[in-house]
């Protein structure tokens, strides 16, 4: 590490951080774009269809339809970057980045493997070192900022359908954030801190001798609320109110084309990645391997990846199973069902803790 750092003229800490940034952002981007393929082929399989398989690599290799990714990417790059005359130019240019960047940087505090020491130095496998004082508050705050991406995109489009979509999406995201926050609060209370590392170590061990000591088994109600809120936060079905082909055309990204549209679409998948990582960290023990307290580092990374990809698959799976909600049903669910449940969960857990339970 030292010699590599020296050869590129950076300190060892900077090099390690740079490496982590490259790995994490590369993986998140890769998984997000790969998931556009999983979404299309997976949905096809769920619905007894075949899915896209006509794009061929060099006119020869079908590769299960994977060249479709390349074809789509190339198409977006080579399309004319049309800016409609009626948009607010500055915001219109910023909006896709505003949507994409929060989705990507929310991942920064999430540890994706066990910390390990090498030649006397301790290395942590998360971009921001643990104990930075932000902990889980950071991804939640960044998730709140993600509203602006959609809202700015909608507002700058200067289009009634876009504004309607943006309004609906922002109202939805803001209302579900409360229940989500309350659900995670119960976890913070139990752990006694909000650092993801602490949350993961709290989940080590065995529950009732048969289950891993994960928070999903200890707070199933909180998990349910958090999980549903994650769907609302990422604007995925059954809560995809930012779009709506029958009512508001393509919603907030009606006026966007070429790479701007691709960024907005990819932001959704990056959001999914981050949300899956959050679910895995908070309720499924993050990188910890069940029944293996001293798992090797590579195995912990593998387990984190498996959990992450599983929840990303659940996002796709749910999307192609459930019908959409109506808007009033969404608000009903958010304010009158999930909020009381999360409150009951919080107070119940607090009461249980005062009685000495854990």
């Amino acid at each position: 590490m030292e010699s590599v750092a020296h050869s590129i003229g950076l300190s060892a800490v900077m090099t390690w951080t740079l490496l982590k940034v490259l790995i994490v952002f590369g993986s998140v981007m890769g998984v997000s774009s790969l998931w556009t393929w999983v979404e299309r082929r997976g949905s096809a399989m769920l619905q007894d269809r075949i899915g896209p398989n006509r794009a061929l690599l060099f006119g020869r290799w079908q590769l299960l339809g994977l060249p479709q990714l390349v074809a789509d990417g190339l198409k977006f790059f080579f399309k004319e970057d049309q800016v409609p005359p009626h948009v607010t130019k500055r915001l219109y240019w910023i909006a896709p980045m505003l949507a994409f960047v929060p989705a990507l940087i929310g991942f920064a505090v999430i540890p994706f493997g066990r910390s390990f020491s090498y030649q006397g130095a301790l290395y942590h496998l998360s971009i921001l070192e643990p104990g930075n004082g932000m902990g889980m508050l950071y991804p939640l705050a960044i998730g709140a900022v993600a509203v602006y991406g959609i809202l700015v995109a909608a507002w700058s489009s200067n289009n009634k359908w876009a504004i309607l979509g943006g309004m609906r999406a922002s109202a939805q995201m803001v209302s579900y954030e409360i229940s989500m926050g309350l659900a995670v609060l119960a976890i913070f209370m139990k752990v006694g801190g909000y650092d993801p590392g602490e949350i993961i170590t709290e989940q080590a061990g065995v529950l009732w001798k048969v289950l891993p000591n994960w928070f999903i088994f200890r707070q199933p109600l909180g998990f349910l609320v958090f999980f549903v809120c994650m769907f609302a936060e990422t604007n995925r079905l059954p809560f995809d109110f930012a779009e709506g082909e029958s009512e508001i055309v393509a919603g907030f990204h009606t006026e966007f084309g070429s790479m701007k549209f691709a960024l907005l679409a990819l932001a959704e998948y990056a959001h999914m990645t981050t949300a899956s990582a959050l679910i895995a960290t908070v309720y499924f023990g993050g990188w910890s391997v069940p029944f293996m307290p001293e798992a090797p580092v590579l195995l912990t990374i593998l387990f984190f990846l498996i959990k992450l990809l599983f929840f990303m698959w659940v996002f796709v799976w749910v999307r192609w199973t459930l019908p959409r909600f109506r808007y009033d049903q969404l608000m009903f669910l958010g304010w009158k069902v999930l909020l009381p449940i999360s409150m009951v969960n919080l107070i119940g857990n607090a009461w249980w803790m005062t009685r000495g339970g854990h």
Partner: protein, 195 residues
Amino acid sequence: MGVIVKKVELTWLDRSYVWPVFKGMAITFRHFLKQITTPTSKRFTIQYPDMKKAMPPGYRGLHELKRFEDGAIKCVACFMCQEACPARCISIEAEEFSELNFTQGFEEKRPSSFKIDMLRCIFCGMCEEACPKDAIWLRNEYELAAYDRLSLNFGKWDLINTYATVDGKARLAQSQESPATPSRPTNSGHQADPA
């Protein structure tokens, strides 16, 4: 007369919305597993240019003008099909011919031209039903596309050959000599005889 609408009483489990979601996801996942383990050739989707649907025997596709084993056309130019055709897409011109042979019997009339305008044809099969000689069939070919209108105006030789390669027969061309068959001695021999 009223319709009695039966109201479904939902159990608390169904009203919770959580359990039905799991049930629905189980259903879609079952479909997923089934579809992903089925080989492509056995899936519901027929991937058209690579695979083709085998049409049922009664399918009314592209016409064929049937011919005898020696290649002679079965059609006797009786105009029944032309009369029966609701789309008026068949146009026949008849001719007399004297070179009779055994397989064909002793008909003295055949089409000199037999045209079907495939752009007009509605593939109703009336011509097939009207034909007294079983000479026109609608068979299973359905890929009828061309770059210009004229090439969908099928003539007699096109119609004879539509299924030739499929049936393993030789394609006939107008310029081609008709295949050697035991021909009946014609009257021309008498006329040539000076006696």
